[in-house]
Point group: D3
Chain length 136, copies 6
Amino acid sequence: MIYLTRRADFSASHYYHNPAFSPEENARVFGKCANLNGHGHNYTLEVTVKGDVDATTGFVVDLKDLKTLMEREVIGAMDHRHLNKEVPEFKDLIPTTENLAIVIWNRLEPRLKIARLHRVRVYEAEDLFADFYGEA
Amino acid sequence: MIYLTRRADFSASHYYHNPAFSPEENARVFGKCANLNGHGHNYTLEVTVKGDVDATTGFVVDLKDLKTLMEREVIGAMDHRHLNKEVPEFKDLIPTTENLAIVIWNRLEPRLKIARLHRVRVYEAEDLFADFYGEA
Amino acid sequence: MIYLTRRADFSASHYYHNPAFSPEENARVFGKCANLNGHGHNYTLEVTVKGDVDATTGFVVDLKDLKTLMEREVIGAMDHRHLNKEVPEFKDLIPTTENLAIVIWNRLEPRLKIARLHRVRVYEAEDLFADFYGEA
Amino acid sequence: MIYLTRRADFSASHYYHNPAFSPEENARVFGKCANLNGHGHNYTLEVTVKGDVDATTGFVVDLKDLKTLMEREVIGAMDHRHLNKEVPEFKDLIPTTENLAIVIWNRLEPRLKIARLHRVRVYEAEDLFADFYGEA
Amino acid sequence: MIYLTRRADFSASHYYHNPAFSPEENARVFGKCANLNGHGHNYTLEVTVKGDVDATTGFVVDLKDLKTLMEREVIGAMDHRHLNKEVPEFKDLIPTTENLAIVIWNRLEPRLKIARLHRVRVYEAEDLFADFYGEA
Amino acid sequence: MIYLTRRADFSASHYYHNPAFSPEENARVFGKCANLNGHGHNYTLEVTVKGDVDATTGFVVDLKDLKTLMEREVIGAMDHRHLNKEVPEFKDLIPTTENLAIVIWNRLEPRLKIARLHRVRVYEAEDLFADFYGEA
């Protein structure tokens, strides 16, 4: 059993807003992130898959396939986008780092072949990241 | 003569749009950056000052003063903001990395005391940065 | 279940010395770290908490609270300090990276609300770090 | 129980080639890595050991011993080498990041004293790494 | 006048060998780099151009053009290649970091339009890099 | 003319204190750095030399010689040391990043052969560094 991790970057905008909160609550809970003009980040995504090493290739997963999947489901959909306005899952879900990790897991997990998804890590910045392992 | 450099980070949104261009021109020239929903980055700012070392302190500049100036003129004004909508200089100026370096120079240079401003470097991402030395 | 990690930095001095060892033993076991004049590091602390995502905020933990706790219990107590001389836990405990991770766990774990502490990681340098999960 | 991790770097060449594959299959499966002239990387190795903290030293493992072991078994054997031609394990094994992690585990695990090997991580580049925990 | 820098990475093999030297001289002068099996690196290239900011675009250079040029002249020609065997300039020139910076300058400088090339920086590793400004 | 830069790291303690200042002045001017127990950093040193490329080696300077010089004059003298107490230059000079860059220049410049010293850069941390070019 080997765990293989691939990183990729994307840049996106977002803001934090709960329509059920009063303006004061949004400001208090979300601080500077409540600014509805939005702000943005260079996100780093780490996708970790696990499986056995194929004896004929030395690979646990074909990296080209993994890269294509990450490109189609995440980078192509989120890079240079406004997460609240352009990524459907965030229509009614606040795009925190935690929720971003879950959304990306849900996009990748059903489409992975051979190897299994082990972890999705999303860095919002060097000093803040969230990990999701698909656990309830 | 010593050159001292201080880094600081801020996160902001922006888009690239020239109202004198047709929609097709904006799309062709600015590519994914033309998306009017905006996208964002974790910017890194490096401010370099130069001067002689004060014999009584060993400092070329009081770092607390420099930090206060950078905080007030740049981080406080741009962090968690939309550059096009909330930073006045970008009302009619495209917020490219190049222009951001010039705008920050113009904010810092007249307010620096004792040491002189030598360079403003702005990283939009690890693989792209602009340097401005105040040269015409 | 989501795991959220926050990084913070602090700079401190320390030395390694066991009063039960002879001077020769201290020198042999601890090498350059046995120098009683002390030396120092830029430490990086990573605190990982785990819990469920709150549906109204998208947060597993309020980052402002976590930052305040890390600031009060670790950064405020250890930054620009001499670990052996100024942090009470190291009065009779050698401030290795391993023990630093345990000491920080013991400071944070009883004071965390809602989310649970999962891991404390301490980097003494880029090429050396210790992880503690609270396991006996 | 504490986990301690030590990093080290080495630079090496390799190529990917399965003699049971046709030239076309090698090109299709391995892409640019199939070039028999070889190419290379600055690899980063992270070795994580686990154990109890020794009360007299504050160490889970003597770092000098760990460094000596890593130097002898990995850095000395692989740095500035061609993995396919000069590291015996890769005579009939494709030197992918996955297999490199397993080979390094097998070199280190039987020779570690006191602490136990927990994980071998090998970075081929910043955006690709493999983890091996010794699990079948 | 603004300076804009773009980074890109490539992985390649090389060795150092002067056919006019005796085997002993090659070994003494080039150390581990003299191994004719070759070894490799993840190189990082930084290309800095300088010029005025175009008022209609905010750019000193069209980044897509610069990226295309770097891709064609450097990455496409050197990534996953053996520098001594596959890059013509190194047929009779030792592929040190110094010479690599000069070779890349000579490939880029005549093909840059509008902005002028200011500096080529090549990192062989994080702790070693060469800068060339085109100065005799 | 090529510029070659070599990095190296060292860990050291220091404090800032001017005996001509009152205790209040020391506290006000130097803040947390005035703590006489000392604190420490992982310093990163970058030494840049310049010269012509030797046609027989492809080197501007023999890296082994440069490494030996840096090791003897800087790393061996400052690593795991208390700068105020163990580095003679700082007996009456405050060990700021600025002064450290000058002291290291003065140790290296007279001992460099063939290539000339161009710049000494000292990082006290990722977000603070000083450059000295030997200019009065």
